[in-house]
């Protein structure tokens, strides 16, 4: 069974229907890249997967738990769903180490010592060991985003969601963040990535999903989507971005 199973998902903001009928199954260890124009609904879809947006109808199951249900213990399920934001959203009043160890400690999943040991290990993985005791404002955008990835990984999630993780970065910093994500993908993390980095999608994704006007218009392996797109709208979009 799929790690993430989305059935007939619809989402409206007032009169505006952003997601019209989304069906999607993501398998364990799969890396999915969601592409599409601004306003196509791709970020909204991602945010429905950890209930930052409530679905208007339909279901989203993660690990067999329906997170859209009225009785869903959303705080518990979110612990297994890591999220990385476009704007990093690090906590400015905490050091890098505190940013990473804070949630596991506060939620009493780990002792302070365990959580900090894990945080140091994660910082090593994102190549920022020496930044443990600085504050986020002293880091570059690329470094902040790598800390944000480490912070999400500190919860030991089953799935990682990335919401345009490189869109707010200066061009020279995109590479270092994508490298961390690629490493994560190679280690077998289940990942759903909303991105404008077509190169990354081509190279790392197992499956690319093209969303337009609230529908999944086309999906398939990157070779197919980029090499031989079938749908008119996919072709139009790719012509603009490639």
């Amino acid at each position: 069974m799929g790690k993430v199973v989305i059935k007939n998902l619809k989402k409206s903001f007032g009169d505006l229907e952003v997601l019209k009928d989304i069906n999607l199954e993501v398998c364990e260890r799969e890396v999915i890249c969601i592409i599409g124009a601004s306003g196509s609904g791709k970020s909204t879809l991602l945010r429905c997967i950890n209930a930052l947006e409530d679905a208007s109808s339909g279901t989203v199951e993660v690990d067999g738990h329906d997170i859209t249900g009225a009785h869903a213990d959303i705080n518990k399920y979110r612990q297994d769903i890591g999220m990385v934001f476009q704007q990093f959203n690090l906590f400015p009043h905490m050091t890098v180490l505190q940013n990473i160890s804070f949630a596991p400690i506060s939620l009493k999943l780990k002792t302070k010592e365990e959580a900090q040991a894990k945080a140091h290990e994660l910082l090593k993985r994102v190549d920022l060991e020496e930044k443990a005791n600085v504050y986020p404002e002293q880091l570059s955008g690329g470094q902040q985003q790598r800390v944000a990835i480490a912070r999400a990984l500190a919860m030991e999630p089953d799935v990682m969601l990335f919401d345009e993780p490189t869109s707010a970065l200066d061009p020279e910093m995109v590479g270092e963040v994508l490298a961390v994500m690629k490493k994560l993908a190679n280690e077998g993390m289940t990942m759903i990535v909303v991105t404008h980095e077509m190169g990354f999608a081509k190279e790392v994704a197992d499956r690319v999903i093209f969303i337009d006007e609230g529908y999944i218009v086309e999906q398939g392996p990157p070779s197919e989507i980029f090499g031989n797109p079938k749908n008119e709208r996919t072709i139009n979009f790719l012509n603009k971005v490639l």
Partner: protein, 221 residues
């Protein structure tokens, strides 16, 4: 009589008045702070009914003068219920409710000034709303609120003088009583004004120092 002579003659009473002024200020700010936090949190709630409660409270406080609030609590409520309040207690209730209303707005502004992404990041890690508010949003909000909070402390300190109208012997009322005996209005009001001024200047200096220390990661540099 000269001002130094008057000070020598009246300082025990003046100090007692000042002491009560400071006491009223501190107690009202503590209670008002709790009220402000509670109603501030209500006013950023997702639930409309919660927000409505906060709006009503803040509007009543802002829409009526403190002197009327004090009269209402000290004279109005006993007239309706027969329960007579000690003037100091009535004063503290009026001043706390008043400060609470303004502090609620300060808390609301502080919380709303923190980017939405902070709450989302905290929630996405699995933190419940209350914990995210307490550990992520409020610590940041309080930093941005600091100047407004200190301003409210100064306002509340000065507002204690209004409580002289219900007979509380804080600094202003003490001055009036002394003048009723010695008729030295010019000198006495000069002394009283200077006492308020000095206390508030000290508060302002402290607040400047706190504000300077409050930027992230810079305190250690």
């Amino acid at each position: 009589m000269s001002i130094p002579e008057l000070i020598i003659q009246t300082w025990p009473r003046l100090l007692a008045g000042l002491g009560l002024t400071i006491q009223l200020t501190i107690i009202s700010l503590i209670i008002g702070g709790i009220l402000g936090l509670v109603f501030g949190l209500l006013s950023v709630s997702k639930k409309k009914a919660m927000r409505a409660i906060a709006v009503v409270y803040v509007d009543i406080v802002r829409g009526t003068p403190l002197i009327v609030q004090a009269f209402f609590i000290y004279f109005g409520i006993p007239a309706a219920t027969g329960i007579r309040l000690d003037p100091n207690l009535a004063g503290i209730i009026a001043l706390s409710l008043n400060a609470g209303g303004y502090l609620a707005e300060i808390f609301r502004g502080g919380i709303e000034s923190i980017s939405k992404g902070q709450m989302e990041a905290a929630r996405s890690l699995g933190l419940p709303y209350g914990m995210a508010m307490r550990k992520v949003i409020l610590p940041q909000a309080v930093r941005t609120m600091t100047p407004a909070l200190i301003n409210q402390c100064i306002i509340t300190l000065k507002d204690t003088s209004i409580l002289s109208v219900i007979g509380i012997q804080e600094l202003t009322q003490t001055g009036r009583l002394i003048i009723a005996n010695n008729y030295q209005a010019f000198q006495m009001w000069t002394i009283i004004a200077a006492m308020y001024f000095i206390i508030i200047m000290i508060l302002s200096k402290i607040s400047k120092r706190i504000e300077r220390r409050m930027s992230y990661g810079k305190s250690s540099n």
